[in-house]
């Protein structure tokens, strides 16, 4: 949770309205998925990285801690791809290294690297969002700017508060089971299933109880009394934020034209 959580700050990205920031996120992610080109994906990643470090001023160490998870995931996919594509039917296969059934080819490695670049480019955009967005402001903005009904927005918000609670509860239950020697009877599928069930049942029971207690407590404080609530903190969309987001739209359109319409990137199956 804390690994991806909000880092306080006052930068341009911190101040940007969360709904618009989300929009910008979608535009950039859209740009990334248009092409399989390694250099293109890498370029976008470096652009977002520069924004994160220089503009949003996220400390490098903090950023590294968050991105490494995706890096690990991406590396795994990339490795698998570079080995797999060896027999995926390339026309001109440049084999670099061969060991038994495994062939490391130039095309395969390029493909793997491109995939890795795409994964971290997408991850970096989402990270820039979560690292600079206070969840509380996000909910305010989704309700005020995006017009989300507040009843729905608030339920999501309350759920967010419960994540750390669940986290520690799962840990406690696992320990409680460990004490009782659960999971030592064997490694069969049935045992595994039973293990998950005995973890899930108490979690669900307490989850339901807690959800009910929360909803009663919310009702008791007049939640849902009217169609609106008092807006204490007004969500404001600055001109700069709008300009920044809109400036990316032509770039995305151009990328779409080049990669999709001219057929240089992803193919749309008709």
């Amino acid at each position: 949770m804390a690994r991806f959580g909000y880092v306080e700050g006052t930068s341009f990205f911190h101040r940007m309205d969360p709904t618009w920031k989300l929009l910008w996120n979608l535009v950039v992610v859209g740009m990334v998925i248009l092409s399989f080109d390694l250099v293109y994906a890498l370029g976008l990643f470096l652009y977002v990285l520069a924004l994160t470090l220089a503009v949003a001023q996220i400390p490098l160490r903090r950023y590294a801690r968050s991105i490494t998870v995706f890096l690990g995931m991406g590396l795994f996919v990339a490795l698998w791809k570079s080995l797999y594509s060896a027999w995926a039917g390339y026309e001109a296969v440049h084999v670099w290294y061969s060991w038994g059934p495994i062939n490391v080819t130039r095309e395969g490695v390029y493909d793997g690297a491109a995939t890795l670049a795409r994964v971290i480019a997408i991850a970096s955009v989402s990270l820039l969002f979560t690292l600079t967005t206070d969840p509380s402001r996000l909910v305010d903005s989704l309700i005020q700017v995006a017009g989300l009904p507040y009843r729905i927005g608030y339920v999501a918000y309350a759920a967010l508060r419960f994540i750390p609670l669940y986290d520690s509860e799962v840990r406690t239950i696992k320990q409680a089971h460990q004490i009782r020697g659960v999971g030592e009877e064997g490694r069969g599928v049935v045992t595994k299933l039973k293990l998950y069930r005995s973890l899930l049942v108490p979690l669900l029971v307490s989850g339901i109880r807690r959800a009910q207690a929360t909803s009663i407590a919310m009702d008791s404080r007049a939640f849902g009394a009217y169609g609106r609530r008092t807006v204490v903190r007004k969500a404001e969309v600055s001109h700069d934020a709008k300009a920044f987001v809109l400036a990316h739209v032509p770039a995305a359109a151009a990328a779409f034209y080049y990669f999709v319409m001219l057929g240089n990137g992803v193919q749309i199956v008709r």
């Binding site: 608030y154 609670l165 004490i179 009782r180 020697g181 029971v205 807690r210 404080r221 007049a222």
Partner: protein, 575 residues
């Protein structure tokens, strides 16, 4: 005559799909500005009654209802929950689940915003309510970073911000350490006296509340079985509350009752420590102290360490240093309590003893096993651990299987398992529910079941984490009797608790933790003599100990030090 602000008449209520009513023909009138204390065994309908006052019952939860509830003349059934929300505010038992925002400020402004008040008014109320509970400086904090006591105060502030005429609090001290609980009671009294808010307080832990309430209402099995001023009620029916209902009454009242049974008569009947000291002092000519001594410590067992750790340290992967240089020795056959504020390292220490975590520095042995080397499996065959919430430990579908689980895992022959399960169920009073699902049991039964699953393993040491959670005095005593039986057979008992009464009655020794360090280890009586440890451990002294102290200082009665009412009264002779 002033009209009651709350008027409940002939209220009978069935939860949806239930055959038995939770409330049976309840009549209650509460007057503006009153401080009403509501007590009763768990499951007697106290919380249900609370929910019927702000319309959640029946407007939100449905169910069948007879009779009526009016708040300030408004019939709840003809009203709406949001209309009632600014008349009756409820602070629920678990502060964790009633807080639904990330920031303190938002939480307190949540209700007023729902009422569509002007932003300036919302802000005024947030500031006012947070100042009222003395936590204004917390307003920009994240809720999950607060301590239990702070969360409780934020919960109270969030209800005060609705500016209710009636404030209902459902066991606000249940999750707090003794000092935080005492502070919460002070706060509630201040709110009542200074703002004139009517208070209805539901509470088990009545030692420091009884003397502040204007009225005491007692419930049993859905009915109100007593409704009077605390003073007369405690004198006339204190025994009934204690012996028949199995509830706690203040130690001062217990002393009062027992001394009156010995022939003294107090007027006024004491409700708290200072009053009891006054009452006894005024009768000093008739009291003779049998021996100037104190409650005798139990005869020393043979001194064989069963737990012995040196300079034990533990740091969580995120860098939190939860335990610092703890050296502790527990002898076989001891009953030891580990005390301290929430987050002081009590649970971390016990997690190391059972092998759930490995020490990051120092080390030691438990039942001859090296803490750094032994696996959870090896340790847990010697040392049992009953978790705070029984549900967390349940893994089977029936009570019988649950109890048998541990022995089956150890591959015992099935006839022997059957024999021991039957015996254990009998000891724990669970024979009647052997075929039920563990999660379908009552709170008290669940607790007994969780104890049974560990007791059957016959381990050398048994750790109980907060065994009092959600327990009446009676069911707690039942569990402790079983524990003491096991102890007489040689089992070492370790209690992690906030409950000073439990400590006073059962423990030979106490260990007090503060910020990961062991700041005290010794007999309970020595702990009571050290005010700085009491303060650091966020503890409060047993009322009867303070009472004896007052007597020694302010009257000529040469009483010793006492931790329990039994011992105190036993040393008093009336001429």
């Amino acid at each position: 005559m002033i009209d009651p602000i709350v008027k409940v008449s002939g209220l009978t209520y069935y939860y949806q799909g239930q055959e038995q009513p939770v409330l049976r023909d309840v009549d209650l009138e509460v007057y503006p500005g009153e401080f009403l204390l509501l007590i009763g065994p768990s499951g007697c309908g106290k919380s249900t009654l609370a929910l019927s006052l702000n319309g959640i019952i029946p407007l939100v939860l449905g169910g069948r209802i007879k009779g009526r509830v009016t708040i300030d003349g408004i019939d709840t059934r003809g009203s709406s929950v949001h209309e009632l929300s600014s008349r009756v505010g409820i602070v629920f038992q678990d502060p964790e689940s009633q807080l639904c925002n990330l920031y303190v400020e938002e939480e307190v402004g949540f209700g007023p915003s729902n009422l569509l008040l002007e932003p300036a008014e919302v802000e005024r109320r947030v500031n006012q309510a947070l100042s009222d509970v003395g936590q204004w400086e917390l307003r920009r904090k994240l809720i999950y970073e607060l301590s239990g006591g702070q969360k409780q105060r934020v919960a109270i502030a969030s209800v005060l911000a609705m500016e209710p005429d009636v404030l209902v609090l459902d066991e606000p001290s249940a999750n707090l350490d003794p000092m935080a609980a005492a502070n919460t009671f002070d706060l509630i009294e201040t709110i009542n006296r200074e703002t004139g808010t009517t208070v209805i307080l539901i509470e088990h832990n009545v030692d420091r509340v009884m003397g502040r309430a204007d009225r005491l209402v007692v419930m049993e099995d859905g009915r109100i079985v007593g409704d009077a001023q605390p003073r007369s009620f405690m004198r006339d029916r204190g025994r009934f509350v204690m012996d028949i209902l199995g509830l706690r009454i203040p130690q001062a009242c217990e002393v009062g009752l027992r001394m009156e049974e010995k022939g003294l008569r107090f007027d006024p009947f004491p409700l708290d420590g200072p009053e009891a000291a006054q009452a006894l002092g005024s009768r000093s000519e008739r009291i003779r102290v049998r021996r100037a001594g104190s409650s005798l410590p139990r005869p020393a067992q043979r001194q064989e360490p069963v737990v012995e750790v040196h300079d034990l340290g533990f740091t969580y992967p995120n860098g939190t240093e939860a335990l610092k240089d703890v050296s502790l020795r527990i002898d076989r056959g001891d009953v030891v309590a580990i005390l301290g504020e929430n987050g002081s390292g009590k649970t971390t220490l016990s997690s190391l003893l059972v092998g759930l975590n490995k020490p990051t520095s120092g080390g030691g042995q438990v039942c001859g096993l090296d803490l750094a080397q032994a696996s959870v499996r090896q340790l847990s065959s010697r040392i049992g651990y009953v978790f705070q919430y029984p549900e967390h430990q349940f893994v089977e579908d029936t009570v019988w299987d649950e109890v048998a689980f541990g022995l089956r895992a150890q591959k015992w022959p099935s006839e022997e398992i059957a024999e021991r399960v039957t015996e254990t169920l009998r000891i724990m009073g669970l024979e009647g529910v052997a075929d039920k699902h563990p999660l379908a049991l009552s709170m008290g039964e669940k607790r007994r079941l969780s104890v049974a699953t560990m007791l059957i393993l016959d381990t050398e040491v048994l750790i109980l984490d907060e065994p009092t959670t959600g327990q009446d005095r009676d069911s707690m005593d039942n569990i402790m009797h079983v524990m003491m039986d096991a102890n007489r057979k040689g089992t070492t008992i370790v209690l992690i608790t906030h409950d000073m009464d439990l400590v006073a009655r059962y423990c030979d020794k106490v260990a007090v933790m503060d910020e990961g360090e062991l700041i005290f280890h010794g007999p309970a009586i020595e702990l009571c003599r050290d005010p700085s440890i009491i303060r650091l451990g966020s503890l409060v002294l047993p009322e009867v100990y303070e009472l004896a102290q007052r007597l020694r200082r302010s009257t000529g009665i040469p009483v010793g030090e006492f931790l329990t009412v039994e011992a105190f009264v036993g040393a008093m002779e009336v001429r």
